[in-house]
Symmetry: C2
Subunit: 607 residues, 2 copies
Amino acid sequence: MSDYVKSKQAGCVGLVKTKKAVLFSESESLLLESGRSLCFVEVAYETYGKLNAERDNAVLVCHALTGDAHVAGYHHEDDRKPGWWNDIVGPGKAIDTEKYFVVCSNVLGGCKGTTGPSSVNPETGKPWGLTFPVFTIEDIVKVQKQLVEHLGVDCLLGVVGGSLGGMQVLEWAIRYPDKVKAALAIATTTRLGAQSIAFDAVGRNAILADGGFQGGEYAGGEGPQRGLAIARMIGHITYLSEESMHLKFGRSLRHADQYRYDFDSEFSVETYLDYQGQSFVDRFDANSYLYLTKAMDYYDLAARFGSLEKAFAEVQADVMVMSFSSDWLFTPRQSRDIVDAMLSQGKRVTYCEVDSPYGHDAFLLEANVVGRLIGGFLKRAAEGSVPGIEEVHQPYRQDPAVDTPWTKMRVDYDRIEELIVPGSSVLDIGSGRGELLHRLIVRRGVVGLGVEVNQDDICNSVELGIPVVDLDVETELGSFGDGSFDYVVLSHTLQTLGRVEPVIEQMLRIGKKCIISFPNFAYWRPRLQMMLGGRTPVSASLPFEWHDTPNIRFVTISDFVRFCRRQGIEILQQIPMVTRDRAAVRLWPNLRAEEVIFVVSRAGIER
Amino acid sequence: MSDYVKSKQAGCVGLVKTKKAVLFSESESLLLESGRSLCFVEVAYETYGKLNAERDNAVLVCHALTGDAHVAGYHHEDDRKPGWWNDIVGPGKAIDTEKYFVVCSNVLGGCKGTTGPSSVNPETGKPWGLTFPVFTIEDIVKVQKQLVEHLGVDCLLGVVGGSLGGMQVLEWAIRYPDKVKAALAIATTTRLGAQSIAFDAVGRNAILADGGFQGGEYAGGEGPQRGLAIARMIGHITYLSEESMHLKFGRSLRHADQYRYDFDSEFSVETYLDYQGQSFVDRFDANSYLYLTKAMDYYDLAARFGSLEKAFAEVQADVMVMSFSSDWLFTPRQSRDIVDAMLSQGKRVTYCEVDSPYGHDAFLLEANVVGRLIGGFLKRAAEGSVPGIEEVHQPYRQDPAVDTPWTKMRVDYDRIEELIVPGSSVLDIGSGRGELLHRLIVRRGVVGLGVEVNQDDICNSVELGIPVVDLDVETELGSFGDGSFDYVVLSHTLQTLGRVEPVIEQMLRIGKKCIISFPNFAYWRPRLQMMLGGRTPVSASLPFEWHDTPNIRFVTISDFVRFCRRQGIEILQQIPMVTRDRAAVRLWPNLRAEEVIFVVSRAGIER
């Protein structure tokens, strides 16, 4: 049974063809960012699924440096490999070809059917080579826009891409703000750092230094095979992580268990790179490699617009940013810069740093998590609303591994819901699976955003349609703008914080009002337990032993009131409660309340 | 004023000369690990300082891949640059040429005076080129041993080196265990990982693919200039960190503030690499580059001996291992592997991961910390004892920034000192500046080792002659062998631990007895404060507010006793104390004791 036949059973788009369209010609040429223009641009592309009657289900996939239009399915029945993102694109998959009309085109300057330096210059009748004009990511996207219009699509449901593809996604969201509902920028950056430029430069150097390069006019000849292979090897190292290379190859030797004491390739990783380099030479054009890496090096949104904030000022799309923990080419930090700038502009952005050992290539390999995030995000963009509470199977955490009597009794959620003015904006610090925000969005019509680090919780929130950003509560709240939310909520998290003051300081800066709930350590039961038993208290609201509790701050109502007074924090409301009674406590709250909700704000702030 | 003249005022060795010695000849040839032999080896070397009458003050410095024998001083009065480690080696410096006789030689196979592939093969009268035998780190060290003997030195006080030099240090300690007192292996590894081999392989590929290489017989011709430059560029990227490249270059352009839209080098980082590549071609031989990188790739102590533990089994030297936080070529993890294997063999090892943004090159750039660690370590090796307590200026922490009433009243130290049997071995978890271990070493004659993460504290311990390893207390105690210490001490640290159980579990595994001291949270003062005031207690022994205390575990004597019972931990001794009285408390200890010392062990263990 061929792979193609097997694939038909597993939700594959099946046999597909690459199509071509001439999008720019002498009558309407493409003006490039460099000032030069191209009077003939043909584009190779593939489509899967059907454009619906409303023409609002189109998803554009943007490929990376060495990818092409062939995203999914097979070109021939005996093809050994499907398209490059077959795990993600297909019927029933994350980018579901039964729901969406999926489009992918080979980029401008590529060598897989779209006009590039290996194409013939109509004016000379010879291949362009280095006379092809240098182009940018903006130019690539302008050509895609023309293709999308050509296919009858005015507004895209989604634009999705990783690496160089992610740059195109950002460019779409910036350049055509009203033409993109959901923008998913994966493992990408708004500008390469010095190290990435350095790797690109060395690769280009290797091509240019190869005697076979002939100033780029190698068509018909051998071409700069060794130089291109070396460039590919360098690139390939940067796509993998140290860990994944170690797991894949370690120090194993290819053909022997003893050293050869010569200069042939003998470590497995050497022969692997030889193979990668050689097979790349067979499928890729050296000039295209020069042009495309240069386009990546040139991309710099902050320089172009004055700042990243200004670059994103007009974005209207819902944005998802995804990075990978071991990606050292386009690092999580670089994705965070995108997220920070979006947040500062009040944009709807969701961010997840996916935990993966696979380095930059993880966006191609971590199909499960990547698919879950893309699928959930596109589904919510298509449906345009969050599901009702009754539709959600498990609104509360039911995982027996982490379940405690306490997490089942979140009476503070009801109270917090009552405290929040309908239609306001809410930032939930430590938002978990999104239960509280889901309630607030459905019942109080708030604009909500969660902060969470647990990957599964983030996926769950995305599937509920709740925006969430993967930030460290204790160190990364600086990402949010001053007074950017009506409410900032910290529910039953205060007592677990390593750094209390900085977190509360940030909350007061970000929120017009802050809602903070925590178990009261001065409740009479733990007090008596301590006084008479001489042991650190264990109770329903403090259900852990001293040595394994996540609660590392023992704070009482009195402590918190005193803290607020000292820090100049205004207490707007104070709701001491007994958990089981779900009742507020009026008399002697510090003694009689099991838990408490404070509404506070920076004294003197305008609300 | 020339740099040379200026340098004379700043503790420089001044004008120096590279000397030469023929160490192997036809009568006594060098047998290589590959099985081949060399019947003529000449070595280029420099020496500074004087060998003393006892001939026990010689320090061998081993250079890295592209270094040479010229470590310090100037060759000519108008030299623009001094030797490559002039910051570390010189009169009054870390490797003090007024005290030590310092030797450094160009490695076998190098191109700076020692016999290598660019030397003339006496049999053919032509340069060796690729007919030079492939050699290994072992071979390099065999030649150094011959040189050291030639200079009249039987036993080295120290062997010091970074990167490839560090491999030589390890090799010295293994191969000549009774000839090295102190071995300092810096920014090195016992074997390259797949990623490092990959970078080396691509560099070699670039050289071999260059038309100018001519099978290695390029003497007289141009040679593989472009290939060697590319290899150097790749290497150079791996020596810097992403952060240091970013700080140094960012995305700045060399000659313009606008893109050129062509393929000339225009980013500063590109022109810098061009320069690095070009200047390297002028000073280094391509064949040497092939041979030396191959020697590094081949180095693999675990494979050679069966395991790292076996490799280090015979080591007698005091070992210092140093790594740098941002070094991604030879990572801190790789240094940790050395340390772990040494510890498991009961070797005397000190380890510091120096915090630095400079990547692998940090061993050349972080002269302050590196110098402090090398200087302190060599000084103690030369003196052979720790200083007396009265000699030490500040035996107790006197830093006002961290000083608290509590740290001034460490009465538990006196008690712990009494508990420890003279001459036993002690592991101090969280050893700080080494005060307790210093007391125990001087007064009780123990063999001590500290675990600490604070860099300044580690430097202080090294200067006191106290071995210390830079490990995370909560996650990295697995490095120590079962029952490898008579005592494991955790003094006033329990209450700050995020993970209590795993740490105590490890302590019980490592130590025959464990000594654990902590403030008793059930002491009557905090109890009353809590009972009556309803606030989390603040007292002399618990001097912090709830929100900024490092004490995140509130543990009482009763809690700890109960914990021990549940975990099957045997309590051998229990010393409740009142801090000011320095007296043991007999009656109602959980109520009346301010702090407590427990001596515990795993029940049933043989002591």
